[in-house]
Amino acid sequence: MKRRTILAGIAGAAATAALPARAQQDAFGSKELIAAAEKEGGLTLYTADFAETQQEVIREFNKRFPKIKVAMVRAPGGQLITRIKTEAAADKLGADVVNHSDRGLMLEIADLFQDYAPPNAADYRKDALVSPKLWPGVTLGWAIAYNTQLVKNAPKTWMDLTKPEYKDKQIGQVIGPSGGTTWTRIMFERQVLGEDYWKKQAALNIALYPSGAPLSDALVRGEVSIAPLLYNIIFTKIVEGAPAEAIFAPEGVPIVPYADGITKSSKNPNAARLFMNWRLSKEGQTFMINKLGNITSLSEPPAYPKGWDPKVIKVWVPKFEEFDKLRASWMEEWNKTYGYRQ
C-alpha cells in the first residue's frame, strides 16, 4: 500500500516535470495571461484556511511564478465573510481571490465573484461544485487520529469509535456547530454510520473541543488519546515526528471541498486567474496532497495521502441540498445528544 502511494506521488511529480515548457505554461494559462499577470505583479488573497498552510501554497506558486507577489489576509470563517460583505458594500473589497471552507456562505455572496473556470475544469467532480464561479482549490478530508504512546489497540474504523474500551474522555471531538467542515462529518456519521451512531458515541463520555486545531494539539499532548480530525491538521505534526498517527476509515472519508473565486472588483484579474489556475492544476493539487495533507476534488487524484488505498477507501461528499436543509434541525439534535450547550 505504501509503495503504491509513493509510486503514485513520484509518477505525478515526474509527469509534471517531464512536460515540455510550453505544455506546462498551457496547464496554467496562455502566454498572454502569464505576461499580463506578471505585469500586474501581485494579488491579495483572503483566506479562512490556516495562514501557515496558505503560505506554503504561495511559496510553491512563487517557485513557478516568482514575479507575482501574493499578499494574504486571514481570518476565521464567519468573521471573514462579515468582513468581505462589509468591504464589498463600501466598495472597498481588497481581495482578488477568496478561499473559504463554507460553500453555503460563499454561495450567498456568489454575486461578488466573476465568471471563471480553470483550464482543467472538466477534470473536477461535479458534486464538489456549487456554482460555476466557485472552485475547490482546497479539499480536506476527515481521518481518525490517535496518540501512539497512549493507544495500545488503535481504532481502525469509524464504528470503533463507539466501543466501550475507548470510554471516559479518551476520545475528543470537535463540536457540531463549529462550522461547515464539522457539519460535513456529523452528517456523514448519521447518514452512513447509522441513526444511533451519535447516541452510542456520546454514551462513552467524550471530550468536546471548539475547533480542530486545539483538539489536534490536545491529542499530541495526551489530553485525549483518539480524535476524528481533518487529515491536514494532524499531517504536518506527524511529519515533524509527533507521537501521533492517522488512518482513513473504510466506511468512507467525508471530504470538504472549499469554494474559491476571483472577485468582480479584482484589481489584478490576470494574476488572480493565474494563481487560481495553478492552485487547481494537477501540479498545485499534487503539492497540496503530498506536502500539506490535503485531499483533492479532481475525479482522478494525481496522488494519495499516506495509507490511502483507493481500492478500499471511498470519499463521501454531502449532497449540497441536504447540507443546507438538514443543518439547523440535525445540529440541534447533535447538541442535545452530546450535551453541548449552545
Partner: protein, 587 residues
Amino acid sequence: MTATSAAALPASTEAAPAARRWAAPLWVGALLIILTFLVIYPLLMLFFGAISDSNPVIDGFGKFNPSLTHFIAVLGNENVRLAFFNALVACGGGTILAVVIGLAFSWIVVRTNTPFKGFIAGASMIPLFVPPLVAGVAWSILGSPKTGLLNTALKWSGIDFRFDFYSMSGLILVFGFYYAPYVYMFTASALRNMDPSLEEASEVAGASAFTTLFTVTFPLIAPAILAGSLLSFVVMLGIYGVPAALGAPANISVLTTYIFKLTAWAPPLYNTAAAVAILLMMVTAILVWAQQRVLSGRSFATVAGKAFRPRSLNLGPWRWLTFSLALVYLFVVVVLPTIALVIAAFRRFLFFKDFDAVFDMKAYSWVHFNSIFDNPLTMISIWNTMKVGVITAVVGGVLAFAIGYTINRTQVAGRKSIDLLSTIPVAIPGLVVGVAYLWAWIGLPGGLYGTIWILALAFVARFIPDTVKSLSTSFMQIHKELEEAAWICGRGLLSTIATIMVPLARPGIIASMTLLFVLAVRELGSSLFLYTSDTTVMAVLLLDYYEGGNIGKTAAFSLVQTVILGVLLGITTWLSRGSAESTARAG
C-alpha cells in the same frame, strides 16, 4: 488645539476678552465631537445591529427594521443566563483575589523597606504583558488534570494531590493572578503620591502600624482601589483567552466565549452577539454608576503643597517575610508560567510520558523560533505593532490628559457628559466592537481604511476609559492649592498645566501611556476586522499560530512579544523613576 483652548479655561477670567469666554464651550464641544466620533457613532452601529437583522453598511439605514427579537432570544436562553452567572462568579472571585494581591504588593513595594523592591516592582508587572490566550495556554500546560506539568511532578514525587485548573476555581485563580497588576498600578501610584504626614499623625495618636494601614492608608487610597478593582473586573469580563483555554475543557461557558461562538459560527450571528454585548454593557454601566456614588462628595487630595518623600516603613527582620511573600507570588505568576512557555517554545512536542521526559534535552530545539522568523509576516507584524502602539500611546495619552483634566480640574458645563462618554467603551467586548468599528468607519472619505491609523484610532477609542481612569487617579490627588498658587503668581492655565500638573502627574502619565501601549499591543478583537495584509499586527499573527493548533510556535511568538514588551517596560520604568526623583528634588 489642546494648549490654546485649555488656556482659556479658568473660571476666574472675568476680565478676559469675549473670545476667551467662548473658548470653554468650544473646548468642551470639540471634546464631545471627538468622543462622539470615537464612541457614540460605533456604539450606534452596535445598537443598530442588536435590534435589527441587518448590517448597516450592506443594507443601509433604509432597511432598518427594529425588533426586540435578539434581546428576547438572548434573555430567554438559559445558556446565556448560565454563562452570565459563570462570568460574574469568575470575575468577582478573580477581582477579590486581584485586590488582595495588588494591594499587598503595592504596599510592599512602595511603603516598606523590603529588599530588592525595584526588581520586585518590575517583575510583578510581567503578567500584564502576557496575552490572555497565552496565559490560558500556559496554565493549561501547568494545571491540566490529565497532562499538567505540576501534576506530572506531583506524581513523580509520590504525592497524591492533583491540581485541576480546568475548573471555576482555576479560572478565578488565573484571573486573580493576571489582573492583580491593574490594581497594583493604581494603588502603587496613589501610595507613592500620598502625604505620609497623615500616617504619622495616626501613629503619633497611638495607632499601630497595622491599624494605620487599615484606618488611614487604605481608606485614603480608596478611589485608586475602587478604580483598579472596577477596571480589573470589567477587563476580566471581556477576556476570551483564559476561559477559552481553561473553561472550555470543563464545559464552563462565560459571556465572552458565548459571544465568540456567535461570531464564529457559520453563518455568524453578529446581531445576536451585539445583543449579548449590550447586556454586558449594562452590567458595567451599573458598576460605574455605583463607583461614582461611592466616591461622590469625598475629597481624596493627598498631594499638597508640601515637600515629602513616600514614607518607608522599617519592617525589621519581618522584611524578609514580605520579601518571601513577594517571591512566592512572582514564582507562581511569573516563573512557573514562563517555564511552561519556555518548555513549550523549545520542545518539539509537548508530550511527557513521565516527569523524567521533561529533562530529555534531545526533545528541545530552536525549531519553532526558526520557523516563526522564517515567516516574513513576523517582522512586518512586529514593526506594525510598535508603530500602532506608539501612535496609540501618544494620541490616546494626549486625549486622555485633555479629558481627564477637563473632568477632574475644571467646572465647565458638559464635563459630566464627557466623563460618561469616555467611560462607555470599557463595557464593550472587543470581539463585538471590532465589527462596530468596521461598520462605522469603512465608509469614511479618504484613505483611512487599510492603514495603520485606523487600527490606532480603534485602540484609542477602545482604551480611553482605562487611560482616563488611570490618569484621573493622579489628578484627584493633586491638591487644587498648587494650581491656585500658580495662578496667584500670574501664570496662565497653559503654563500652570505645563509647570505644575504635568510634572506632578508625570508618573501617572507615563504609567497610563505604558498601559495604553501594552493594551494596544495585545488587542486582538478590533484588529481582526481592521488589519490588512500590509498592516498585520502581532496579536493577529499569534491567533493564526494558535488557531493553527501549533502550541510551540504560539509559545515561541509570545515569548518574543513578552521580551519586546519587557524591554520597553524597563525603559519606561527608568524614565518614570527619573522623573519621580526630579519631582521629589524640585519639591
